[in-house]
Each structure stands twice: as C-alpha cells, then as structure tokens.
C-alpha cells in the first residue's frame, strides 16, 4: 500500500531516499508511462507503445520493458542495465500533488511535492538526503522537483498528443506474436501504436499541424522505437538460457 503525505522540511528533515534500482524497490514493472518530451531518450532503448489506463480508459504512451506483468528485462542483478531510466520511474517515491492556497483573497491551485512514506525507497539510514542539515533542500531534492515539473508538463502534453492522434484516427491496436529460441510462442495484447497507413495518407495541412507541435517527430520516434522489441527478445532469450543452464 502507499501512504502519500505532503513533503515538509520539519517532519521529513532526516529522511533519505534510496536511488538504486531493483525489484525490491518496485522497479519490476512491465511498462511505465512516458511522453513526447522524453521520447528521444526513451526510444533509444525501449519500444514505445500506447496503453489504456484501467482506471480512466485514457491512453498513455508507455516505455515497455518486458512481455508480461512484473517482467522488467532491463533489471539485472538488482541493477538497471546502464540505460536511460524513464522519469516516471526515477521520480519514485515522489509524486506531484495539488494544494489550494489563498493568495490575495483568491484561491489558487499550487503544485506541491508528495512523498510515499510506505515506499521501500524511504529510509533513515541510507540514500540521498532530502534536506541540508542546516535547512534548505538538497541538490537531490531540487532535481526531484524539476523532474516532477517535467513529468507534469510532459503528461499534459501527452494528453494533447493522444487527442490529436485519436482525432486523426492515427492509433490502432495490435497483437505482438513472438517466438522465443526455446520454440515457445507468446502473444502480447492490449497495446496500441501508430497506424502507418493512415499516417501515409494524411493531408498536408494535418501534417503541418502535427509538425508545428513537434508531434510529427514524436510519431516517427514511436515508429522507430518498435525495433527495440528485438532487444526485449534478446534479453528474454538470454534470461531463459541462463535459467536453463
């Protein structure tokens, strides 16, 4: 379970956060949300697809790490294989919250940092300090703060991106059929990607509109990222081979 609280320098002065990667810290995820602002880094290593959030039915862009639940093929010996770690994982155990404050008599919503106190990353003994001994936030916390801002903007931008894709019928569902070296066959369903036929037939004014927002580049990075399914396959085969050995 999780216990989200508003981060403050009094109660949480002594807390530290473990930044190592590992299944015990909840990194054994099949996929994690990403967004166009981050695609350039993500597409270098992972396939990017779309997935519907079960709670809202909304489409998210996701970086995919495996073929099934709790399978993250990039976690190895409790280490991430040296690649870029998407922000929505790196932000753990922090998340962005909303707070209503009264300023000059009017109510305003402010973004604030929340912390999941039940996260195994939260420690008193080891990890990165959140606050400096004499007060003020640590460089690590400053980094977290800017990361959360990027995620917040990135997810908003992703929603606009998805809305445009849906408007122009550029999303389609697909089934990924894979065959492993041991001959076993697997099927991955529930993901969506760019419909390349629709893309190829888009009128130039729509292309211009997508380009102006930077989404045309995002679309092509998405398509290119599909090649990383091979990386997943390679890692899965290696894993199976070492388990068999």
């Amino acid at each position: 379970m999780s216990k989200h609280v508003l981060l403050n320098s009094v109660e949480h002065l002594d807390l530290k956060v473990i930044t190592a990667r590992g299944a015990e810290f909840g990194d054994n995820v099949w996929f994690t949300p990403t967004f166009p602002l981050e695609f350039r880094s993500v597409q270098a290593h992972y396939p990017i697809f779309f997935h519907k959030d079960a709670a809202t039915g909304q489409f998210f862009s996701v970086a995919v790490f495996g073929f099934t639940h709790h399978e993250n093929l990039f976690l190895h010996d409790d280490n991430w294989r040296g690649y870029y770690v998407p922000l929505t994982l790196r932000r753990q155990p922090f998340l962005i919250g909303k707070q209503v404050v009264r300023e000059d008599g009017t109510e305003q919503t402010q973004s604030v940092i929340h912390l999941d106190l039940d996260s195994p990353r939260v420690s008193k003994a080891q990890g990165e300090a959140l606050f400096l001994p004499l007060g003020g936030s640590s460089p690590y916390l400053d980094e977290v703060s800017s990361m959360l801002k990027t995620i917040h903007l990135g997810l908003q931008d992703n929603a606009a991106f998805v809305a445009l894709l849906l408007e122009h019928k550029l999303l389609e569902s697909f089934t990924l059929d894979i065959q492993l070296d041991d001959g076993s066959k697997h099927q991955m369903i529930g993901f969506y990607t760019i419909n390349e036929d629709t893309l190829a037939a888009l009128p130039t004014d729509v292309l211009g509109q997508l380009h102006a927002k930077g989404y045309l580049q995002a679309i092509y990075m998405l398509i290119a990222s599909q090649a990383n399914v091979r990386t997943l396959l390679k890692l899965k085969n290696q894993l199976n081979a070492s388990a068999a050995a």
Binding site: T56, G57, L166, S173, Y192
Partner: protein, 521 residues
Amino acid sequence: MDTVIKHIVIVGGGTAGWLTAAILAADHNTDNGQLLNTGALHITLVESPDVATIGVGEGTWPSMRNTLQRIGISEAEFITQCDASFKQGSQFNNWRNNSGDSYIHPFSLPAGMPDFNICPYWLPFKQQVSFADAVNAQARLSLAGLAPKQISTAEYSFINNYGYHLDAGKFSSLLQQHATRVLGVNYVRAHIADITNTVQGDIAAIITKDGAAITADLFIDCSGTASLLLGRHLAVPFVPQKQVLFNDSAIAVQVPYQQPDEAIASCTQSSAQPVGWIWDIGLQSRRGVGQVYSSAHCDDKQAEQQLRRYLQQSGILDTDQLTLRKLSFTPGHYARCWQNNCVAIGMAAGFIEPLEASALTLVEWSAKYVSAQLPLPASLVSISAARMNQAFSQHWQQIIEFLKLHYVLSKRSDHDYWHDHRESSGIPSALQNLLQLWQHKVPSAHDVTHSDVLFPAASYQYILYGMGFETRGYPELKPTLQKKAHGLFEENAKRIQQLAAALPGNRQLLDKIRQYGLPPI
C-alpha cells in the same frame, strides 16, 4: 422521365422523426463523418410548435449502439446528455405466479448460439440452474448491478451486450442538434394545416398554417398516434390488436433517487400486477416508473393505487408529491406502413404496449429499411413499398405473439385479467401451434421463419424457461454435443466469476464516463 427520390420531408419531431432524419442523412449525405457537398438527399423535418411530443419510450435494444455510431454521435456525449444508463435486458417480477418469482431476459445470446442450440442440453439440469444462468453470464452480473463494460472498453464495444435506458426528451434534443448542426437536416417549425395530392393520389405537398407548401418526393410520417399522413390523410386501415393485448392505458411518473449514489438497475424492471404490469427504469438522475393496464379490466383509480403501492414498496414514502401522467393508446398497427409516397415510422405506424421495449427498435429498423431502398427511382416505389409492408407486417405479428407469450405462460389467478389472457380465443393460432410444439422440443431457429427477425429463438427460450415452461419430450442428446455443452456451461460459470471481479458498478462507470469519456478504439 423516371425521377429519383431526392426530397424527403419528415413530419413530426419526436425521437422517431429525428432518428429517421439522422439515419437517412448520415447514410446518404456523409462520408466518414463529414458532410458531402454532393449529398444524395435533401431532408427537411417539419415539426409543429403546438404539439407536445409524448416523451416516454425510455428503453432501447443493443441495436441503438449501432444506430448512434452510424449517425456519428460519441457514446460519452450521448450518455452524458441523455441521462442514459446501460440496459442489459428485462427482469420480470411476479409474472409466473405472484410468489416473489423473478427471471431475466438478457440481451446476450446463450453460449454457442446461433450455430449450436445449447438449450436441449440444459433441460436435464433445470432443477439445479436457471436457463439464463446456465448459458450466459449477463443475468447474474446485471442482477449484481455490474456494468456491461469497463472504462477502458472502446465506445460502443461491450463485454456483455447492452442497450440503454434514456431520457426521451433529452434524446430527442440531442438528435435534433446533431441532425441540424452536423448532418445538414433542414428544420421547419410549422403547424400543418392541409395536405394536397397529385392526380395519381400521391401526396404532393403539406401546407403549413401560414399557407406555405412544402413539397417532397417521399413523405415520412412521424406524427405519432395522430398518424396525420398515413392514417388520417391516406386512410390506410388500422388493425386493432386489443383482443390479443388488452393494455390500452398507462400512468407514468418520474421518481427521484432516495440517495444520490443509489445503485442503478441494469435491467428494465417489469413487475406484474393484478391488472397489467409496472415498468421501472433507472436513469442516472432519476427513475422512470409506469403502470400499464387494460381499461376494460380496471379503472384509472385502481391502476393508480397499484402504482402508488409499488412506489411505496420501493421506498417512496410520500407519493402525493409526484406528478402522475395518464396516457391512452389503441393497441394495434396500420395494415401498411408504406402507402404511395408516404412511409409511417414510429407511433404513426402503430403502437403496442412497451413490454419488450420494441418501439424505438421498430423506429431504427424502419428508418434503416427505408434508407436501404434509397436512392430509389419513382417507378420502383411500389415494389419497395410492398416489400417493406410485408416485412413489417411480419415484425408486428411477431411482436404481438411474443408479448402475448409472456401472459399466456403466467399462472397468476388473482384477477380476471390473467384468466382472460389465457383464453384461447385471444391467442394467435400461430402461437398456439408453437406452444404445442414447444412441449416436445425447445425453440430453435426454424421456429422463427422470417428474416431480419426482431426476437430470435433465444428470446423464446429465455421467456419460456424463465416462466417455468415444461418441455417434456427429451431430445436425443448426442454424447459429443453433450460434452460440448458441458464445456460451455463450465466456461460460463468461470466467466461469471471472472467478470464479477473485473466489472465496475453501473453508477461508478457512468460517473467515470462523465469524467473521462470513452476511448474511441
């Protein structure tokens, strides 16, 4: 020269008129949701500002999903604007023998249907499990108040088949908005004072109160029970059905929920009464309840008492504050729905009590039938008309027989009403013959002979065995098919369990749809 039907005038702006306008316009004047410059039809809907629409008819069949998608309305917009909820079937309470009995006629087909008739393989187990629960998950899940889909299920797609409960007035407004703003339908508010003919006896024009003549190649009469064009002007004979289905009156009432988060029922509740039955439909913000009855068997006051008693039993302590609305109708239909250059759709073509909510379905069926005839050269109108008249006579006949079946199977004896329903003089002979057959074999596709059928064999099975009908002649049960059936029974039991854990409640999902919409794919 043979002219092709181009100008269409629809008379009447209730749900029937706007649905018809939207279906014709979407089919012939749009491509991929976009209005064509070269649309084949010129459609005008004329609505009298003086005549109020009836505004009942709050249940649809699953076909409405296809219809809404076809005319290009997003499901989330429809659900939000029409106070709509999911309808997964009808639940019949106290129809069997007034002993607290209840069964569901769900929208989903039995497992294996239509290729494999599983029904005979259920007969040996009828003491252990109801037919509906043995062959399908929907009855159990809808009884538990669970929605037919999840928030991540694409719009108009389903996990269990569904139609809607909706606010008829709001639905009509949404259709009007969509038809006029998106689909290019012309809208004229005018009272019709007169109708003129051509020398051949076709309708030439309708004349408005201020003297304007509106001409068309084809007139569609959606004027409701007035049946201005088909019944009154063209004098097509009316075929009364009161001798079979006695109900000719209704008292309708809108009831608020007692709690804002009260569960929303997923089936239309139909509760048999000493005379007639009461419908109970749960929308998002209120319930719609109504007593349907036969004026020959009880007076309005008795009917009202039945309704008030029902409301009190369902937790409405103070029924005096509610506004009751009395409606009368003549059960029956016109001998032909298409005469000369005029087609009647909706109540202008006929009306039978709403026991299986077939009214809006007939509107959809009719509008789609007409749409499929177009574009139509004037010289071929009589051929299309004859074919449609034949098809819809069969539809009416089936509706009448299928509704009558509900009454004939009842063992209620608390009022003459029920005895009279079981009098053989009022039972159509085709139905009498089938009932004899069904004592020896279960209903199959061969018993429902015409095409594009409203009620498939499965519907007869759900009603017969829901009502405890005895089919005695056990058929030969082939071992391989027995095995297949048992596999399907087991799969269904598993599916019930899995879906019970995975599906949200109706209200929970409707609230989410208002917040997030539904994904288009």
